[in-house]
Structures are given as C-alpha cells and as structure tokens.
C-alpha cells in the first residue's frame, strides 16, 4: 500500500511530519523551526475562523436571506456589524460600543435566565435527593457524598465570611473534596494528552516511516 503512494501522498506525509517534529523541537528549546510553525499555526487558525464565519454566518444568515429571501431588515445587524470596524479609528471608536453593547446586552439577557434556570436550579434540584430513595446502602452513601461535597465546596468558595469555627471545618472538608476532584480531572487530562501523543508517534512511525522506506 505504501509503495503505491503518489507524489502528493508522500508530500502530505512529509509536510505533516516536518510540522510535528518542528513543534516537538520546542521541548529541547525555542528555535526558528518551532517559531515558524507556531506562526503558521496561529495564522491558519485565524484564517480558519474567517472561512467558518464567512460561510456559516455572513453568507448563510445575512447575505443569502437578505438578497435571496427578501429579509431586508437584516441590513440592521449588518450595519451594526460593520460599525464594529470603527474600533480601528481613534476618533470614532466609541461608535463600536453600540454594536458591542447590543451583543453584550443580549448575551447578558440570555445568561441571566439560562444560568439560573438551566444550571443553578437544575444542579440544586439534582443534589436534593432523598437519602433512601435509591437501591440500598450504595446509593445512600453516594447521595451523602454528593450533598456533603456540594455544600462544602460552596462554603470553601464563599469568601465573604472568615473561615473559622464551623465555617472553617466545612471549608476544610471542601478542600479535600476539591483535591480529589482535581486529581480525578488531572488523571483524565493526562490520559487524554498521552493518547494524542501516542497518535502523533504512531503517525511518525507508521506513515512517515513507511514513506521513508518506500523512497529509500
């Protein structure tokens, strides 16, 4: 299979291998290969979002509905969007605040409801469960852990009162719970990153190695 690869296939594999190795070279120390790849990565990522926004927002939600669908009123968000560019002018940058205020205000309105209704209340609802409502001792222990953890974590992050006495003891339990949770998260994250590293090493070993063998 490797031997039947075209020039373009080889080129794509070598390009990827070069980029991977140049980025990994930073593990030794900062160098021009890494810097070049890093700047290309930053540029491509920015360009990626331009393409994404252009196709999925500007074209699909503004230009096409306005010109093909007759939704003329979309000219107003279009103007608000263009007004954002006044930010580049020293004298007229204040005009962009109107567009920004529209986005911020709208988002605040959505968040005010969704954070309370969709998150805070639902999480409190899910925590307030009967201790004997499940299947035996295991679920009772689990419910106790969850209730203790939620209360002690909230107390730990409550800084308006000094952590002394009962408050201090609860906060102490809270930090133990937090450490266990962060440890679990850390373990998960490490394993995720390691699996990505394995993927890169496999690419270098099988794909790039295969290409090398087929050429030389």
């Amino acid at each position: 299979m490797v031997e039947s690869m075209s020039f373009l296939d080889h080129f794509q594999i070598w390009l990827r291998a070069y980029l991977i190795l140049s980025l990994f070279s930073f593990l030794y120390k900062d160098n021009p290969f890494y810097k070049l790849s890093e700047h290309i990565f930053a540029g491509l990522s920015a360009g990626y979002y331009v393409g994404l926004i252009w196709q999925s927002v500007i074209l699909q939600q503004l230009i096409n509905p306005m010109f093909d669908g007759g939704q003329w009123w979309l000219v107003f968000p279009g103007i608000l969007g263009i007004l954002m560019f006044t930010r580049l002018s020293r004298n007229y940058s204040w005009i962009s605040r109107v567009s920004l205020a529209f986005v911020i205000g709208n988002t605040a309105g959505i968040y005010l409801v969704s954070e309370l209704h969709g998150k805070a209340i639902r999480q409190i609802w899910a925590t307030m469960i009967p201790l004997d409502g499940g299947s035996g001792a295991a679920s009772t222990i689990l419910a106790l852990i969850v209730i203790t953890g939620v209360i002690s974590t909230l107390v730990y992050f409550y800084f308006s009162k000094e952590h002394k006495g009962l408050m201090g003891a609860t906060a102490k339990i809270g930090i133990w719970f937090i450490m266990i949770s962060f440890g679990a998260h850390f373990g998960y994250t490490v394993m995720g990153r390691i699996s990505l590293l394995i993927g890169r090493i496999e690419f270098l070993y099988y794909d790039w190695g295969g290409s090398l063998l087929s050429i030389f």
């Binding site: 980029l19 980025l23 070049l36 700047h39 290309i40 930053a42 540029g43 491509l44 360009g47 990626y48 331009v50 393409g51 994404l52 939600q61 979309l74 608000l80 969007g81 263009i82 560019f85 930010r87 204040w94 109107v98 567009s99 205020a101 986005v103 205000g105 709208n106 988002t107 605040a108 309105g109 959505i110 005010l112 954070e115 209704h117 998150k119 805070a120 999480q123 899910a126 925590t127 295991a138 689990l142 852990i145 969850v146 953890g149 002690s152 974590t153 909230l154 930090i175 719970f177 266990i180 949770s181 440890g183 679990a184 998260h185 373990g187 394993m191 990153r193 990505l196 993927g199 890169r200």
Partner: protein, 233 residues
C-alpha cells in the same frame, strides 16, 4: 451620548431576551431574531479580530521589525486560508459570475470550504496536525507540572496524588487489571464513588457558584452598573 447610548442599547437588548423567556409565545420569533442578529454582529467581531491580526503583523513586516519573517508567515497563512474560503464556489451568484469571468471555472472546486477546497486541504494537512501536536506536547508539560504538584507535602497534595494515580490506572486496560488484583469491584467503585460521587459533587458546587456569579454579572450589565466592556474613553 458616548456612554449613555450603549447602556440603553444593552438594557433594551438584554431586557428583550429576559422578557421573551417568560412571554415567549406572545412575542413570536423575537428572541430567535435577536439571536440571529447577535450571531451576525458577533461574526463581524471575529472578522475584525482577524483583520486586527493582519494589521498588527503587517505593520511589523512593512517596517522590517523584530521577527518580521515569522510575522510574514502569519500574514501569508491567514490570507492563504481565508481568501479562498471566501471566494464563490458557483457561477450562479453575481460574485461568481464576476470571479469566473476572470479566472477559469475549474478553480471552483478549490474555492469555498468544500471537501476538495484549499481551505479543507490546509486544515487537514497543516492546521489539524499542528493542533493535535500542540495538545500532545502538553503531555510533557503536564508531566513536569505533575512532578511539582504531586509531591505529597501535606494531606491535600496527597489526596490529589492518590486520586490522580488511581484514575490514570483506571483509564488504561493494564491499570484496570492491576486494580482488579486488589478487588474485582475496585474499578466499579472508582467510577461510582470517585467520578460520580466526589468529582460530580465538586463540579456541581463550582457550576452553582459560577452560574450565580454569571447571573449577577448579567444583571449588572443589563442595569448599566457594569460598564467595563466599553473600555476607556
């Protein structure tokens, strides 16, 4: 005018979203339309950000400033990725007719964001591998951080060390087999009590706290108390 008008706009747009939650039926598609408007304005905001990247880097390149060859690479990368993705794919549009009167129609498949476009190729063969490598590199930095954080200096650090080690073992088949040597149910207990017990309870506490904070900040913005988003001037 410079501060009052944005405060009024923020109040009205925020108020509309809150009211539409409670009286959604009576207001028709008002909230959906408002969301579409926000998406459009937000889209321009992102384009402005990229334009700013081009402007800042372009200035350094024009002046042959520090690290200008790298800045040039950034500018070329942005242009190479963005411009073909914005060019028309079909000849049916006004833009398409103008474009293909200058360039050959065979270029059509290379434009836009479709499967055989330049945008797609650059993403699959340059951007995506680099993104994965950047995240993979974090494995080394995370190992270095772990060495410093995991020294069992006190009870809290020891809890972090033990939990992380147990979870890392539990996540791999060999580690899970090792855990089963102690007790056949140990991996299930880790899943039930550590992940769904201790971990969930802390995440819940953090989510409740963050949600209350976000809601109060939103209220401050709508009422015009919080104005830092406007910047200076």
């Amino acid at each position: 005018m410079r501060t009052t008008l944005p405060v009024i706009v923020a109040f009205l747009s925020g108020f509309v979203m809150v009211v539409s939650f409670f009286f959604g039926g009576a207001l028709g598609d008002l909230d959906d339309n408002a969301l579409q408007w926000v998406t459009i304005v937000g889209g321009f905001t992102l384009v402005l950000g990229v334009f700013s990247i081009l402007r800042v880097n372009g200035k350094v390149v024009a002046k042959r400033g520090r690290d200008w060859p790298y800045k040039l690479a950034t500018v070329i990368s942005v242009v190479a990725m963005a411009i073909p993705s914005m060019l028309p794919v079909s000849t049916n549009t006004v833009g398409g007719r103008i474009f293909y009167s200058i360039f050959p129609e065979s270029w059509g498949s290379r434009m836009g964001t479709g499967p055989s476009s330049i945008y797609d190729w650059l993403f699959n063969y340059i951007d995506s591998p680099m993104m994965e490598t950047m995240f993979a590199m974090l494995a080394f930095f995370i190992a270095s951080a772990a060495y410093r954080a995991f020294r069992a200096r006190n009870a809290e650090a020891s809890l972090l060390l033990i939990t992380a080690t147990v979870v890392m073992l539990w996540r791999i088949p060999m580690g899970e087999a090792l855990l089963r040597l102690f007790s056949d149910s140990l991996p299930d207990y880790i899943n039930m009590y550590v992940m769904n017990g201790f971990n969930v309870s802390v995440q819940r506490g953090i989510i409740i706290g963050a949600a209350l904070g976000a809601a109060s900040m939103s209220l401050r913005i709508i009422l015009g108390i919080e104005r830092t988003y406007m910047g200076k001037g």
